[in-house]
Symmetry: C2
Subunit: 228 residues, 2 copies
DNA sequence: TCTTTTCTGTTGTAAAAACAACCGAATTGT
DNA sequence: ACAATTCGGTTGTTTTTACAACAGAAAAGA
């Protein structure tokens, strides 16, 4: 368990907690380690889980099968990431499979013991609860934003929605995005070439300028950026 | 404050907490009431909030303006619903406006006081923390599911994704959905008539049967529902 | 440096969706 | 019972997208 302290220290759930405190909290939180071989299932659809988990080593796929058996991969989890936290509740079943795509080490924390004040009242327990809350909140915000973009009807509107958000976030009409073209297309769930085409049309119409992943929004229609 | 106890009792955050306990917790959690006139802003884009809020009376719109000033309404909040909880964190700014669309009463809870064990250790504090966690988790799950549907390229795939999920959730190939056609189209972000058209094509091809909001999935390709 | 690979933009075509307009059935209200 | 409204389905047109194939530039690797 000791060797994973550096990884745990870098996770959101233990942000602001020192090495020593993490060690003493591992037992307090009822932490358990488990290793999975490549191809082994960590969670299965329909399963009821009660633990919050962090991937310490390896990588996982979140995948889903539809009624007709078609499989799709929803996302990848890499070391240090927390997962399953939204399902760590008795009355709800996992809706996806989680599968190890290489040998992986996972640490399990009993959700109840995290959420309930422990009897020996360890100092950092409330920090962990707050961290957990903030981590879920952040995931939540990102999901809402993504839906906001995806819900637009046309590729152009999706792009405008996304680029507007980035400009706001970076507080400037000039900004850098964390995606290349293919990644942005995947994020917005559109075809790359069609998106690239649309970006260029928008550039030709004088709406935006860009080079690589650096963008600039133009024509604010007499609006000050601060008003937005 | 007293008159809103019945509403609070029905909220997710106070599930399992009795009337008396709610009253005693209101001060413990630092609750504050505020009334908003029609059109008044509850939260503004860019604002940093520190409270978790519940709408006690009235209704609110969550809306967003893009860089060019186009406004879109992302959702409506009605009495008893919690909101803003994903933004109740110092380092993050509200990304949307929240506006009262009629006279509304809102209760504010200081997030820190909810997440930190209170000194007088009221019995139900940990229940509320758990409730809060479960409520956010549930929102999170719903968002992930929605993204799963929306990320499909065609209307047909979106429908299959959504209907598969419903079948799984209700554990039967026969199930009822909580939407009419327009609502389902809005949920999946597609055009109603196009979706209606696609549904009928799928019915003609023998994939599904439906009447009103009752659906049945057919042709499981030799798959048992339990395997999915 | 030269080769290979990745990234981005471009074009054309076929497929799909949005949009608009309409109709009949069902529902609601009076 | 009647009128008005909502709801779901249908059709045709226009717009948009996905898809495929390709090419030049940039980056990475040998």
């Amino acid at each position: 368990m000791q060797k994973y302290i550096p990884i745990l220290k870098r996770t959101k759930i233990f942000a602001g907690v020192g090495d020593d405190e993490i060690v003493s909290m591992l037992s307090c939180l009822g932490a358990r380690l488990k290793t999975y071989k490549k191809g082994e299932y960590v969670f299965r659809q329909g399963e009821h889980i009660t633990d919050i988990t962090v991937l310490l080593d390896g990588s996982l796929h979140i995948q889903k099968d539809d009624y007709w058996g078609n499989r799709s991969i929803l996302g990848e989890i890499s070391a240090g990431e927390m997962f399953g936290e939204a399902y760590a509740y008795d009355s709800c079943a996992m809706l996806n499979d989680v599968v190890a795509i290489e040998e992986s080490v996972i640490i399990f924390f009993d959700t109840k013991r995290i959420l309930t004040s422990c009897s020996n009242a360890c100092r950092f327990h409330s920090i962990v609860v707050q961290n957990l809350f903030f981590a879920i909140s952040e995931k939540n915000r990102k999901l809402v934003q993504k839906i906001g973009h995806m819900s637009k009807r046309t590729t152009r509107e999706k792009l405008i929605s996304y680029l507007s958000e980035q400009a706001k976030k970076q507080n400037s009409a000039n900004f850098t995005i964390p995606f290349n073209r293919q990644q942005l297309a995947d994020f917005l769930s559109v075809d790359r070439s069609a998106m690239s085409n649309e970006l260029c049309k928008m550039r030709d119409e004088g709406l935006i300028e860009f080079e690589k992943n650096k963008f600039r929004l133009l024509q604010p229609k007499h609006l000050n950026l601060n008003q937005i």
